[in-house]
Amino acid sequence: MSATDIHDPNRRDFLYVATGMAAVVGAGAVAWPFIDQMRPDASTLALASVEVDVASLTPGMSLIVKWRGKPVVVRNRTEKEMKDGEAVNLSDLKDPIARNANLPADAPATDANRTTPGKEAWMVMVQVCTHLGCIPLGQEGDFGGWFCPCHGSQYDTAGRIRKGPAPENMAVPVFKFISDTKILIG
């Protein structure tokens, strides 16, 4: 072995490098299934859309459906809640982005952008705190919206983060009204 010789790369150098590369690629190929098996499996990924009948929800009522293992709240907001939500100045928001999967990623977090056009009374939202994934309690806290009991994050009536450690507004999933009283989530 004359590793210190300053020769042009010869056949042996090439063989060393090629063998080493093959070993690295081989080790990676063997390791990958062991990592890959940990990812969500087919049965978890086979997420069905959920259809929700909201005919019975009068203003001030909510229901929660399970979607992708997470709770999604459907709330028929009261007049006061809507007014409170609209009255908020965008510059007061910790997270000024709507986080609405039905809108462009940079849509501002106005009250209207948190809902769907023509159905502004209705909040449809993944009720999972954006801090560390707890379920906030509805209609509690300083802003009359949601309050997370885990680490004290407070959301307003449009599910926007107002106070506490959570970084983002709660997510609005892809959804649409398929009739006046039916919502399709996902």
Partner: protein, 446 residues
């Protein structure tokens, strides 16, 4: 200390036969019988042995519990209740295991604080210290995953919060979180892998413990004076002196452990964990196991964005940073004197740090309320838990990043004795009787 000559002489034919082929008896003799230990070790040095038996106890009780446990989200909670009610002695084994985890952590915290007080991490014991920190990290992972297995409300929501840490990592966070969970939320795949890993990690701990003890036997034990062993009169043989002392420490420790098992078995747990996990309802107040509370308080103390780092990532970074500090201690402490006994200012700051850690632990058990540090400064004293947590977090990091480096440079230490023997004899001359925790015989010898 252990390097050099071995004093083992095989006496019987079998011993000679082994010694020529695999000198295991020689290793045991050199490590646990003739091994020289500083003669002035106090009872704070018994926690290494206590930790060893706690690890063995956890593995033994854990293996038999695993024979009755089912890691399926529909069955897990019921199988734990079955262990409590139906399995013969199941209640005892489970209470031993659950309280054993707590007592394992009590012992490890005392062990860590002892290291910090006496400067046990200083050269040449840096690697020994770091191996200990790795054991502590593995213990935390094991404890966390074990707490998920009963599938109660705190199991589920603790797991949700802790795996949520990883979603704070920019770009790849959600991918990593889903990799850990095996789904979009804590569910059956999560429980199964946590069970598998909870079974595996204690054996990895045992492996690192072997390295920890190996490193210890190369550099030798530190001692309350922090002075290296210089002559034979500074040491006594491991057996009987350290053996008996360790045994007595273990017995006292196990007495307290037994008191908890039989009279306060659920004192260190949370009643909500006797409610089966419900993914749609968060308990009013999520708290982790008590031994994570100081870190939990640090996590929640970061309620503000720091430049591009949002409050969530900031909290997670501070929490992990709090543990990273321990790894860096050997290089953060600039003092040439090891033991706090001879460092009056360090001694003061050490006890402030202990108080700070306890305060953080208490704050971690309180709701995350209050206006924060700024409102604390203008007089919001009652109920401002966030404010106190921010102040305590600040001190926590200041202790490592400011006090340890600066104090070593500006502090005037007290005069060090010339040797361990001199320190021991000096202490005896003072007429205060036997120093607590020193064995009687070696003090008067030499």
């Amino acid at each position: 200390m252990s390097e050099g000559h071995s004093t083992y002489t095989p006496k019987t034919g079998i011993e000679r036969w082994f010694d020529a082929r695999m000198p295991l008896p020689r290793m045991v003799y050199d490590s646990f019988i003739a091994y020289p230990v500083p003669r002035n070790l106090n009872y704070m040095w018994t926690f290494g042995g206590i930790l060893a038996i706690m690890l063995v106890a956890q593995i033994l009780t854990g293996i038999v519990l695993a024979m009755h446990y089912t890691s399926d989200t529909n069955l897990a909670f019921g199988s734990v209740e079955k262990i409590m009610r139906d399995v013969n002695s199941g209640w005892l084994l489970r209470y031993m295991h659950a309280n054993g985890a707590s007592f394992f952590f009590i012992a490890v915290y005392l062990h860590i604080f002892r290291g910090l007080y006496y400067g046990s991490y200083k050269a040449p014991r840096e690697l020994l210290w770091i191996l200990g920190c790795i054991i502590y990290l593995l213990m935390m992972a094991t404890g966390f995953m074990g707490y998920v297995l009963p599938w109660g409300q705190m199991s589920f929501w603790g797991a949700t919060v802790i795996t949520g840490f990883f979603s704070a990592i920019p770009l790849v966070g959600n991918w990593i979180q889903q990799l850990l969970l095996g789904g979009f939320s804590v569910d059956d795949p999560t429980l199964n892998r946590f069970f598998a890993l909870h079974y595996l990690l204690p054996f990895m701990i045992a492996g690192v413990v072997v390295l920890h003890v190996w490193a210890l036997h190369v550099v030798g034990q530190s001692n309350p004076t922090g002075i290296e062993v210089k002559s034979k009169t500074d040491t006594v043989a491991f057996t009987p002196y350290a053996t008996i002392k360790d045994a007595f420490g273990m017995i006292v420790f196990l007495f307290i452990f037994a008191y908890f098992i039989f009279f306060l078995p659920n004192y260190l747990g949370h009643p909500d964990n006797y409610i089966v996990a419900n993914p749609l309802k968060t308990p009013a107040h999520i708290v982790p196991e008590w031994y994570f509370l100081p870190f939990y308080a640090i996590l929640r103390a970061i309620t503000f964005n720091i430049g591009p780092i949002n409050s969530k990532l900031g909290g997670v970074l501070c929490m992990f940073g709090a543990i990273v500090m321990l790894f860096l201690v050997p290089w953060l402490d600039t003092s040439k004197v090891r033991s706090a006994v001879y460092r009056p200012w360090y001694k003061l700051f050490f006890w402030l740090f202990v108080a700070d850690a306890i305060l953080l632990g208490w704050l971690g058990s309180q709701p995350a309320e209050g206006g924060g540090l700024l409102t604390l400064l203008i007089g919001e004293f009652t109920g401002n838990y966030v404010g106190y947590a921010q102040a305590a977090t600040l001190f926590y990091f200041a202790f490592f990043l400011i006090v340890l480096p600066v104090l070593g440079l500006i502090e005037t230490p007290r005069r060090l004795p010339n040797s361990i023997t001199e320190a021991v004899l000096e202490k005896n001359k003072g007429g205060s009787g036997h120093p607590a925790g020193a064995t009687a015989a070696p003090e008067t010898k030499g």
